[in-house]
Symmetry: C2
Subunit: 326 residues, 2 copies
């Protein structure tokens, strides 16, 4: 079946670098160019990266956070990104876009929106798993200041309905946390979208650099398989003013198999016709949550944040005659 009944022709638009000097207008033009490529391939939807309109500015420390205002959007859509929304309407293609959000109350989030083919925003996400730190760290060769420039997201892990699919929204570091996928799968997500900016070099100086790509793929492949969902992830890649980002944008099936993968460090569109029913056999058997999950044994996941002491086992768990040398 070339086009299964419940299917989406999904495009992932990996971006090459966005440098400090790049104007947002230019960036929006690049996004539109990739949407046109997606249109030429009959795609229904385009996934763009996290903070797609700017360089990954959390790598830079500035004493006054307001100095970063120019990288934030105080409304969405706005004049600069309007052409992208117009292109969506013109081509009948929805999209997912990450950007820095500054609210009217002065709150800052690492956010994303999901937009339908009529150019209407139908869902919004504010990043929950912010990595890095909030102050300048003299002990670090690389700064990663997401905790300085953004507040923790307050909208939960949302699932939006579009194109006959339930679509979960996440950003970057969220994809490494199993809870992200599970909370979305428990809302019947069929497809989970991530945009990301992953530095090729960071504080883990003891770690071999090739593991960055392995960890990227391992996380999204396991999240897909263990939740019987499609996962797609779009990177910003290449060298932003000398700071390398990994690419490796990918579309992963509910089996955990990579079905499309970017292989450049530039603007690059990959796509796949994804059958939303493909994970059904997994949802009915091995990952039938109703049959097999045991939430009564998962309580620590919400009761604890960090690593703590082992729980005491139930008193009767080892009868006295079972202890000691035989």
């Amino acid at each position: 079946m070339i086009r299964p009944n419940r299917s989406i022709n999904l495009a992932v638009a990996q971006m090459g670098p966005v440098n400090l000097a790049d104007e947002k207008d230019t960036v929006v033009s690049r996004l539109i160019e990739m949407m046109e490529e997606a249109k030429a391939r009959s795609c229904d939807f385009v996934l763009y990266p996290e903070l797609a309109l700017t360089t990954f500015f959390p790598r830079y420390w500035v004493p006054e956070i307001a100095e970063m205002d120019k990288y934030f959007e105080s409304e969405m859509p706005n004049e600069r990104v309007a052409p992208l929304f117009e292109a969506a309407r013109k081509h009948g293609i929805g999209f997912y876009l990450g950007y820095a959000e500054l609210t009217a109350e002065g709150r800052r989030f690492n956010s994303s929106i999901i937009v339908n083919k009529a150019g209407s925003i139908i869902g919004k996400y504010r990043k929950i798993h912010l990595p890095g730190h909030s102050e300048y760290r003299q002990d670090r060769e690389f700064q990663h200041l997401e905790k300085r420039y953004f507040q923790v997201g307050d909208l939960g892990f949302g699932v939006s309905e579009l194109m006959g699919a339930k679509i979960g929204m996440g950003l970057c570091n969220d994809r490494r946390w199993a809870e992200t996928y599970r909370v979305m799968a428990l809302q019947s997500a069929d497809l989970i979208l991530f945009g990301y900016n992953t530095p090729a070099m960071n504080q883990n100086a003891v770690e071999e650099p090739h593991l960055k790509m392995f960890h990227n793929l391992l996380s999204i492949q396991a999240g897909a398989y263990q939740n019987s969902v499609w996962v797609a992830a779009a990177a910003k890649s290449g060298s932003e003013d000398g700071y390398r980002l990994i690419g490796g944008s990918a579309i992963v099936a509910p089996t955990g198999e990579v079905v499309a993968k970017a292989h450049t460090q530039e603007d690059e569109v990959i796509n796949a016709v994804i059958d939303l029913s493909l994970g059904d056999y997994l949802k009915e058997h091995i990952f039938n949550f109703d049959e097999h999950r045991r939430p009564e044994h998962y309580q620590l996941i919400v009761d604890r944040t960090g690593r703590g002491a082992p729980e005491s086992p139930p008193e009767e768990f080892i009868a006295p005659e079972q202890i000691g040398p035989v």
Copy 2:
């Protein structure tokens, strides 16, 4: 550093098939032979599979569950397995062993014990994620009756302290569920052990058989990486009376890398000196739970068992001006 300060020379004893006709004495001799091989390699500990003393009997349906009593142990240790405990004391090697447990009250569990080098049982686990079904299924070519022969474990996901490590205990299907690893990691597990019996063919007739091994490795690699722990898994493999089991026993580092892997379908010992400190850099940075986890957004993991409707987003999440065509 050939032998890091906090290290264990860990052996994983994969087993070839155990057929219906095999006596437990014979099986125990095989386990001891593998312990002796581990001793020759200066190992500290041996990991054995799930239901290591018998064939994987949940593939067979019998009308009266009591007909399966011969596959269960009503005490542990007992006369038949005593030689294994004696070997542990003699060689100064601890072990993890899966077996079918029948309690004095007539309850049945798919259980495992962890035993120190003095031959004393120091921890016990009863399998929580039982796969399969509880009744004969005429629609199925293969029966998988774990839910018939076993109750759901009632001891939680325990962590035992041994050899300077905090060791989590799981069995088979547990390794596919992200909650298993997380609940143990939240108790500061350094190392998580699984025994397993995974049929090479089962109900997922639509799935390519090679995916079985991929899913096995994907699950334990992701569990290791995302929790910064070592994971080891021991299979029963080969053809048990014509029913094929996958092998693929492995030791996986906190980076997610496979550092040792079985490659036969027979009794086979693999081992690795594992540095318990290897995951520290991950625990301090990317997977610093205290810094980065957000349990306030994970509540559905314990509030829901199965897949349900999407949660309503907070009312303010899309301001009216953000909805609709631009």
